[in-house]
């Protein structure tokens, strides 16, 4: 299941797409969750820009998406908006409407002598260094965040494995803001470990400065009742490398939006993700890679497993290669494995290319079922059904687990996957 990024734009949608045998290429599964009666709000064919006023921007081009620090600029959500149509707003814990005055989850720094954690006032100039809200919930979180936690990864040092434990202790709707500054030529593997329970609108920004190498694992290991909407934005400077791995398996509703923007040449962005949805869970990942400068490279791969009634996952991958971004090399893929009936995976890759002068760009999306023929083959070699299922799922997700590079966390994830699997087996 390896990906290649060498092909030409004309072939983008085909090459590498159905690389999992037995998996059908589903392409875009566009059935919206919310009632989409009003065509005035536009669909995929709507192009063009919307200016000022802050009325819900109806623009399928990512370049035209409204961004604002002011929550009032975003129209109240109806659930029919392009970027909310899959999300069950009723289960959002009012994060888009409420005053987010609940206690924000506790942030603790573990396991690094080099990294520094501090708290700054909400009006500190660091806030907004890499993030500007792209939706109403994020803007609401901006408005209500009482302060900001700032993690600094000092210049030219290897901070090693850094863990920020983020513990939710209240179900009152809350806002949180975290700023990560990866200074010039710093290096770190940062784990954002979300545990406990919360109803949380969160903004996390990563200022990845020149030559820095930052790997972030955002782990959503919430309790079953958590609601978490998180906008995680990175600006990636010249010669820097940013790798973001979203790992989501806990929570009632998780909606994570990682965005990464190149601000200097020869930088690299990798966005990976792994999710495992059980009965009733809604796990949504909406990512955005913004190629605005020449000669940068990005790679996106999200893999998800689903099981149980009304397990629902949504993956939307926006990659925008702007006119200036000549020499871009980009690939994005999402692969889902549906283990039982009644689960649903929506997958929408959006690749926009505004220049022909690129090295390569492609996208792929596959949603497959664990197949009786796979099962038969393994069982015909003596492997019992349960072990066979485990072998396939573990193998399927392992490609992402291996990206993490932290033994303890990998171990923990492998265990979690086993537990999730044990829960399905009849």
């Amino acid at each position: 299941m390896s990906e290649t990024t060498t092909h030409l734009p004309e072939e983008k949608a085909r090459i590498g797409a159905p690389s999992i045998p037995g998996f059908t290429e589903e392409g875009e599964n566009l059935s919206p969750l919310n009632d989409n009666a009003s065509s005035l709000l536009g669909g995929d064919s709507t192009k063009g820009h919307s200016h000022g006023g802050g009325v819900g921007v109806v623009d399928s081009s990512r370049a035209g998406r409204l961004t604002s620090y002011n929550v009032e600029d975003f129209a109240p959500l109806t659930g029919r908006e392009e970027d909310w149509r899959f999300t069950p707003l009723k289960r959002m814990g009012a994060l888009h409407t409420a005053e987010l005055t609940g206690a924000a989850p506790k942030v603790e720094l573990l396991g690094s002598e080099v990294a520094q954690l501090s708290t700054v006032a909400a009006d500190d100039k660091l806030r907004g260094v890499a993030l500007k809200p792209e939706d109403r919930v994020s803007a609401n979180a901006w408005k209500y965040a009482a302060d900001a936690s700032v993690l600094t990864l000092p210049k030219s040092q290897d901070a090693g494995h850094v863990r920020l434990r983020i513990t939710g202790e209240s179900k009152d709707a809350a806002a949180q803001h975290i700023v990560v500054v990866a200074e010039e030529n710093s290096e770190a593997l940062l784990i954002l470990d979300h545990v406990g329970s919360a109803v949380l609108a969160q903004n996390v920004e990563f200022d990845v400065r020149e030559g820095a190498k930052l790997t972030v694992v955002s782990l959503q290991a919430w309790e079953d009742d958590a609601v978490h909407a998180s906008s995680q934005q990175a600006s990636v400077a010249k010669d820097a490398a940013f790798k973001h791995i979203a790992v989501t398996f806990g929570g009632d509703l998780v909606r994570l939006a990682p965005s990464a923007r190149f601000t200097g040449e020869r930088a690299e962005i990798e966005l990976y993700g792994l999710y495992f949805a059980d009965a009733g869970q809604h796990l949504e990942h909406r990512l955005f890679v913004d190629h605005a400068v020449p000669n940068c490279k990005s790679n996106v791969l999200y893999k998800g497993a689903l099981q149980g009634k009304d397990a629902h996952t949504v993956w939307v991958g926006d990659v925008l290669i702007r006119a200036a971004a000549v020499g871009t090399d980009s690939y994005e893929a999402n692969r889902n494995l549906v283990l039982t009936d009644g689960a649903r995976a929506d997958s929408v890759p959006n690749l926009e290319i505004e220049t022909g002068l690129i090295d390569g760009a492609g996208h792929a999306s596959t949603t497959g079922r664990f197949d009786d023929e796979h099962l038969f083959y393994l069982m015909a070699r003596g492997i019992d059904e349960k072990t066979a299922r485990r072998l396939v799922v573990r193998g399927f997700l392992n490609e992402i687990v291996q990206q993490i590079g932290d033994d303890e966390l990998q171990e923990r994830l492998t265990e979690t996957i086993e537990e999730e699997l044990a829960a399905t087996n009849n």
């Binding site: 299941m1 069982m379 015909a380 003596g382």
Partner: protein, 252 residues
Amino acid sequence: MSTLEIKDLHVSIETEQGEKEILKGVSLVINTNETHAIMGPNGSGKSTLASTIAGHPRYTVTSGSITLDGEDVLEMSVDERAKAGLFLAMQYPVEVPGVTMTNFLRTAKTAIDGEAPKLRTWTKDVKDAMSKLKIDADFAQRNVNEGFSGGEKKRVEILQLELFKPKFAVLDETDSGLDVDALKVVSEGVNRAQAENEMGTLLITHYTRILRYIKPDYVHVFVDGRVAEQGGPELADRLEEEGYDRYVNANA
């Protein structure tokens, strides 16, 4: 000595037009150390027989029996059959995403033997078996059958045969799609397994070529879901010259 006995086996499949009978009373007795070749026209039910022995859920046995040393094979689940010593080398081996060959082979071996193989000797056994079958060492890291060529898949089936050491092997057109050298390499693998494990073999093929390397004790002609004729190795030569016309016409 072990015996695999198939008695008056009737097998149907579900089709859109309803139930369709494919095997219409097959009887065969195979002992360990024996090689039986099955030849017959396309669509006559050879793969159906093979898959039914292995327990593929698509096939329903409507009457008759399969026993292994008197034990009812039809009562066993697919994995139990493999553990009991039955092995099917498939006509179209399945690609399994996400599972490396190394992991797969070790898991299967552990399941079949009921205990994990000793790591050091196992690694060496796998390596040796691969090199004898001229399978590149890289294949160990690749996902099961994924992207393997037709011939490579067949070799990997025989690799498993050698490593898992079954009592009975059903080889469904293992020779199809093999080049001349591969045919020899694969045949040697089967012969080694027979010699080392006293294996009984049911060899399904369209060509006498493989029978020059793997000598059958018996040849069965399969036509329209039944054994139409049985004989010794000379029957294969006659089939090669005359084809199946005689049986097919007699049947019509």
